[in-house]
């Protein structure tokens, strides 16, 4: 999709996609509290415009995606069946990893979605290798490589920038800056908080983007993708976004004030932003919004039912997939 002023139809699509992420994640939180989902579970609520926007930029035919443990939304936006994602979260055999990966380790070979990585910073160098594959095979693909603000203090991120720039690899590094690396704010952990500039020593161009506005995400994403695809090498996009919930389900987020969170929710919410854009453009029919909401709700409830009703992995699965 080209950067442009979007039709109402487009805006409704964005609205639906972001709403799907939000409702899906809310359902995850609910199922987590019921004990259906266990372990670490990192939700994407507040950050929806990034995954939903970049979905418009990513070619399903030849591009690839890699991200961190906050991966449900990116799987959804890759077009993976929400049922399969929810089943994985519930540890069921019908999940995308047969219940052996869980929340943090989701993959889809078919959609070239390469995880789902639980080690902070790991996606940067792995994604750089995936981009090398695109270049080696000359398949015109670009790797969209996500990591958070916390990861930008890991050494391998810079090892990756260096290699990608030297070898002109087709990769877009997307820093999802939600301003808190677990409980440590960007201000307390980064000597320079302009994270988009972190590629400068390696001649990697970067741009700060309002990651709460899907139109801006798409515009910046298009520009970056076409730069990387044309053989000019890597680009960094710092998506300035915000997560409404704690780092994971076990984090009460006491390191920031309620007022700060409420302020973002009431003034910068990515879903409300699209809704308002539609309203300004043509006036908003409640029925249209309701239709989308009920469609999304059906999908999410269907996914939850599927997960709850799926069988757990048989015991023999324990020893499968260690080696080929």
């Amino acid at each position: 999709m080209k950067a442009q002023s979007y039709s109402v139809q487009d805006l409704f699509k964005f609205y639906g996609n972001m709403l799907l992420i939000r409702r899906f994640e809310e359902k995850c939180a609910q199922l987590y509290r019921k004990g259906v989902i266990g372990g670490f579970c990192h939700l994407y609520i507040g950050q929806e415009a990034v995954a939903a926007g970049m979905r418009e930029v990513t070619s399903p035919d030849n591009d690839s995606i890699i991200t961190t443990y906050r991966d449900h939304a990116h799987m959804l936006m890759c077009g993976i069946d929400p049922k399969v994602i929810m089943a994985e979260l519930a540890g069921k055999i019908t999940g995308c990893s047969k219940g052996k990966g869980g929340s943090m380790h989701m993959f889809s070979r078919q959609r070239r979605f390469y995880g789902g990585h639980g080690i902070v910073g790991a996606s940067s160098s792995i994604g750089t290798g995936v981009a090398f594959s695109h270049q080696y095979k000359k398949d015109d693909g670009v790797c969209f490589c996500y990591f958070g603000d916390g990861a930008t203090n890991q050494g391998q991120v810079y090892e990756s920038f260096n290699m990608a720039s030297m070898w002109k690899l087709p990769i877009v590094y997307i820093i999802e800056n939600n301003f808190y690396a677990m409980g440590t704010s960007v201000n307390r952990s980064h000597a320079n908080i302009d994270l988009y500039r972190r590629g400068e020593p390696f001649n990697v161009p970067g741009k700060a983007v309002d990651g709460m506005k899907i139109q801006e995400v798409i515009a910046a994403g298009c520009e970056a993708a076409s730069h990387a695809r044309s053989g000019k090498g890597p680009v960094i996009l710092e998506m300035r976004t915000y997560r409404y919930l704690g780092h994971s389900m076990s984090d009460p987020a006491t390191y920031r004030t309620k007022e700060e969170v409420e302020q973002v929710k009431s003034t910068r919410d990515p879903i409300e932003h699209v809704k308002n854009t539609i309203a300004k453009k043509q006036g908003l029919k409640e029925s249209e919004i309701k239709d989308i909401e009920s469609k999304v709700s059906n999908i999410v409830e269907g996914a939850a039912d599927f997960a709850l009703n799926s069988p757990t992995p048989q015991e023999k699965v324990l020893y499968e997939d260690v080696l080929i």
Binding site: S64, I66, G95, C96, S97, K98, G99, K100, G101, H105, F107, S108, R109, R112, Y114, G115, G116, H117, G118, I119, A122, S124, S125, I126, G127, T128, G129, V130, A131, F132, S133, H134, Y136, K137, G155, Q156, E159, S160, N162, M163, M166, E320, D321, V322, L323, I324
Partner: protein, 326 residues
């Protein structure tokens, strides 16, 4: 001098596999223009060009994650570590990424990659450059670990490792590269299967199990022990994971005595694992306790006399075997 050096054999294995499969490429420090820090990749840049023989910056974690990323997206990288000491900087991607992704993805994402380079004990380079990582990697499900001694095995196993759809750790040794061996196959389709130990010499009185550079001393010891009238059966493990327990058990059932040799540390080492397996599966066949000859449980010292003390010596092997027959 007859035979061919291990250095050349390893290069030939890579060259044949690169010619056979366009997806295979080599990346590592100094592998291209410098022709390999130990000259193992001599000539490969000239033959295959810079697209497939890639000089990496000194950036172990970066190029290991990079190699893993290339492997899961359709290529077959050979990642050379100048030495496995430096792979410590990258071990997260070997253990957390390469070894686990097939499992974590429910079998979707395979990782055909070879991590190879210098392992083990070198000469006078002290603690940080002289240590054996065999048991570190052999500990991890999801990896295969290969550590040959004979050149014919080195070639056949490296070719198998490159063809394998799983991550394979291929352990070499600096002092090994210049050794010459006969009997290396020139047939580009000849391979040696991963997971099979080799009974190098048959015997009746005691089994000695070793791998990698320790095999040299084991072979020498068995010759000396012949004059004592002791018939030694020698097993070269060749692969450390999966371990060929069957071959070891079969031998122990015949000789009833087992000595294990490794240059690495004794604590939770390869010999410890073998001891445990034999206790479980052949306890009733043992006529004497299993004995070990290993590196000393200390960081490697620099001083020549101390270094010698820290390493398994020929006499250690001989005297342990003799102790069985006193």
């Amino acid at each position: 001098m007859t035979g061919i050096t291990v250095r050349e054999v390893l290069r030939d294995a890579m060259r044949e596999e690169m010619a056979r499969d366009e997806r295979v490429f080599l990346i590592g420090e100094e592998v291209a223009e410098y022709q390999g820090a130990y000259k193992v990749s001599q000539g490969l840049l000239q033959e295959f060009g810079p697209k497939r023989v890639i000089d990496a910056p000194i950036t172990e974690m970066g190029f290991t994650g990079f190699g893993f990323g290339a492997a899961i997206s359709g290529l077959k990288p050979i990642v050379e570590f100048m030495t496995f000491n430096f792979a410590m900087q990258a071990i997260d991607h070997i253990v957390n990424s390469a070894a686990k992704t097939l499992y974590m993805s429910g079998g979707q994402i395979s990782c055909p990659i070879v991590f190879r380079g210098v392992n083990g004990i070198a000469a006078r380079v002290a603690a940080q450059h002289s240590q054996c990582f065999a048991s570190w990697y052999a500990h991890c499900p999801g990896l295969k670990v290969v550590a040959p001694y004979f050149a014919a095995d080195a070639k056949g196993l490296l070719k198998s490792a490159i063809r394998d759809p799983n991550p394979v750790i291929f352990l070499e040794n600096e002092l090994w590269y210049r050794q010459r061996f006969d009997g290396v196959s020139q047939d580009p389709e000849h391979t040696v299967s991963i997971g099979k130990a080799n009974v190098v010499k048959e015997g009746n009185d005691v089994t000695i199990v070793g791998f990698s550079m320790s095999m040299g001393k084991v072979l020498e010891a068995s010759e000396k022990l012949k004059s004592d009238g002791i018939s030694v059966e020698i097993i070269d493990l060749r692969t450390l994971r999966p371990l060929d327990t069957d071959t070891i058990i079969r031998s122990v059932k015949k000789t009833n005595r087992l000595l294990c040799v490794e240059e690495g540390w004794p604590y939770a080492g390869i010999c410890s694992e073998i001891t445990s397996q034999v206790m479980e599966y052949a306890f009733d066949y043992l006529d004497a306790p299993i004995l070990r000859v290993t590196g000393a449980d200390v960081p490697m010292p620099y001083a020549a006399n101390l270094e010698k003390l820290a390493l398994p010596q020929l006499d250690d092997i001989i005297s342990k075997v003799r102790s069985y027959f006193k």
